[in-house]
Symmetry: C2
Subunit: 416 residues, 2 copies
């Protein structure tokens, strides 16, 4: 069972927005056993749309199209898809009513002429009601191929995928199982890991694939399998994992399934133990706090943070001694330790994490080289601080520091 | 001049990662007058790669390929591209030396056998040296078509685009100018704006396109043009803008060029005036601070933030009165006001922004409905607080609150 995703919009091709819809749809389809053969992003151009529809019909059983469903003139997906499927557009009363209600509720105005067109759908389309917006999703069949047109606005598209598209695909198609298991390693390059497990890789059964995903000091090994029987597939993948793990024991960190981030895993552990966390952030500038609070349920363990970006804020709010700063520099092991120790006392938590460093591109309030970062972890066992060089690329320095801080905190929680 | 971008990797198609490379490349190509015809994401599969190369050669003059250049068995781009171009791989001594140096510097080990393969390149390839990684970029010509293969790791790819690909494309191809101007509006839906400017849209010259980009209460109107003469093109677009602006004066916020975010525009203004900012964040959980500190130069105006996620943290660190919280609820106009007023005094800044609300999915320490958010802005003129309902989707509530807070701060700075 193969799908193709077509995302439509000039804004994607000129790089004005990043296409995040495709990854969401890809993951959703995989979860019900549908593989994505290709993702194709194209402009709002009639000839190009027709060409892409024809190629996708040739490549795949299921064609999911996002974007180009707005009410303005640059949106041409609906008309072009109707033409491609030799259909015409008619007004759908249910959609019209829904659009009228949205207008009444949110802008307290009667529906405009342009927006009435949102209620036009191909005669053969099954309408997928979009409760968050005016553009309906549309499900169209041509032989055993299914074309699904969805709005490009991510939260509208996501709701339609979850509530309409997946349930209907499950009903219509018999699908195999697709399973991914991801092994997380830390501390060795992908080539060295590949050499260690070469013999296993060379003898993998045909229905299982191995991929290496290196990023920021970590390498993820992803085993992907496809099969008719879920239990068998699970066993097949597990038996490969059992062969791999003994060879990479020294760098094995854990499994990363459902793409759970380390911050979510930490959140789960702290919440379960009824323990709490505070942060004192300098070079990470609030990003560590943002990571934790982006997930629901953060208030169960996360009490708060001080983002002490200026040196004076470290002194005034975190009580870091001015003398230590003058002697050791504001980017130093001692300052990181003081920040972590003090924020833990100030907010009264079980754990505290502090970061101070120079993310660049120029030197800040200290003489520290760009990329120099100190991370400290405070707990009932005292405080531990570590020094790193995170390179000279601002965004990467911040991201690597966030990742490393999460790892060190995870380690501390694990050892306590 | 047309380009096609091909991004390779199973991780893209199963939704394990979002393809951010294409947007970066699209924007970079646009900046030198090259249009992107299509973005195609495919699996690490030989037959599929060959098919995609052939289609891209048919569609475009320039084919930029990212990914699949690692040293492990799942990486097949280099071999497949060499086969497609009827070429063979040979060792490149400069690349080998570079890989050896990287190994020596970062892992203090001699180069492994697998990594030696990173130095193999097609005989006809011009090597684009990748100073951040082991996989070289490759520039290959077939007639007047150019194939450019780049590593998939974003920061390696970006450096190669900036330092090698763009300068070489500029040398090789005569290109037109591409200009985008984006008008930012706030407060009206796209359909209503479209009705107002319909007459202008219907008479746009052929070389200028108009697109509507709605998001979170804002609608951006993007005018895109292509032409041989930069000054003429600039004038043509400006004359359309001059016709549009009088019709949308009530909702016109400004121009958004170079995709500068509102936080960058605020940063520029505060830095110029020598003014400073502090934040007290509850429901935005550090994201507002992260927005400001993600850009270089933040320390010039951003002094710090308190992320007072727990109610007790609001009392202890921000000095919000327990009585007010009990009487008015922790999600209230009064608490937002107190947070902003107090953080401004605590950190001693010109401006302060505070957020408190319920991002959901469940009710927190207050009885406030999910989506209820209060934002307060404090300045020398006192404090102003505003109530909003940001809907019931956690991620959107946080993002909308961040955007709205930036807008309110911008307004306050503007009026002062």
């Amino acid at each position: 069972m193969q799908a193709e995703i077509i995302t439509i919009g000039d804004e994607i091709l000129i790089g004005q927005i990043v296409d995040t819809n495709s990854a969401f749809i890809g993951k959703a389809l995989n979860s019900i056993g549908v593989s994505v053969y290709q993702i194709t992003s194209i402009q709002d151009d009639r000839e190009h749309l027709l060409k892409a529809f024809a190629e996708a019909e040739n490549n795949a059983d299921i064609i999911i199209i996002t974007g180009g469903l707005g009410p303005t003139k640059d949106d041409i997906t609906k008309h072009t898809l109707a033409d491609y499927l030799e259909d015409t557009l008619v007004q759908n009363d249910q959609v019209l009513q829904h659009v009228e209600q949205l207008f009444k509720k949110y802008i307290n105005q009667p529906i405009s002429e342009i927006n009435k067109k949102q209620a036009l759908v191909p005669t053969k389309a099954k309408v997928l009601m979009n409760k968050f917006g005016t553009a309906p999703g549309m499900w169209l069949e041509k032989g055993n191929k299914t074309f699904i047109s969805l709005p490009g606005v991510p939260y509208e598209m996501k709701a339609l995928i979850d509530n309409e598209v997946l349930p209907n695909l499950i009903k219509k198609y018999k699908r195999p199982y697709i399973l991914h298991k991801t092994i997380l390693t830390y501390g060795l390059g992908e080539s060295i890991i590949a050499e260690r497990i070469e013999a296993i890789e060379d003898t993998l059964p045909k229905h299982i694939k191995l991929a290496y995903l290196p990023s920021l000091g970590k390498v993820r090994l992803r085993l992907s399998g496809k099969g008719e029987d879920e239990a068998h597939l699970e066993m097949d993948i597990q038996s490969q994992i059992d062969k791999i793990l003994p060879l990479i024991q020294d760098v094995f960190v854990g499994f990363q399934d459902n793409d759970e981030g380390l911050e979510q895993s930490i959140a789960r552990q702290l919440t379960k133990k009824g323990q709490t966390l505070a942060l004192a952030e300098s070079c990470t500038g609030g990003k560590l706090a943002e990571q934790f609070t982006s997930h629901a349920g953060a208030s169960a363990f996360f009490k708060g943070a001080i983002v002490s970006y200026a040196t004076q804020t470290k002194i005034d709010l975190l009580g870091v001694s001015e003398e230590v700063i003058n002697q050791k520099s504001v980017v130093s092991l001692e300052v990181a330790e003081a920040m972590a120790t003090n924020i833990r006392k100030i907010i009264k938590t079980d754990y505290a994490v502090a970061t101070t460093g120079n993310a660049g591109p120029t030197k800040g309030d200290s003489d520290a080289e760009v990329g120099t970062v100190f991370i400290a972890i405070a707990s009932k066992n005292g405080v531990k601080a570590y020094e790193f060089n995170m390179g000279n690329h601002r965004e990467r320095v911040i991201n690597k520091t966030v990742n490393k801080a999460l790892e060190l905190l995870q380690k501390e929680i694990f050892e306590n």
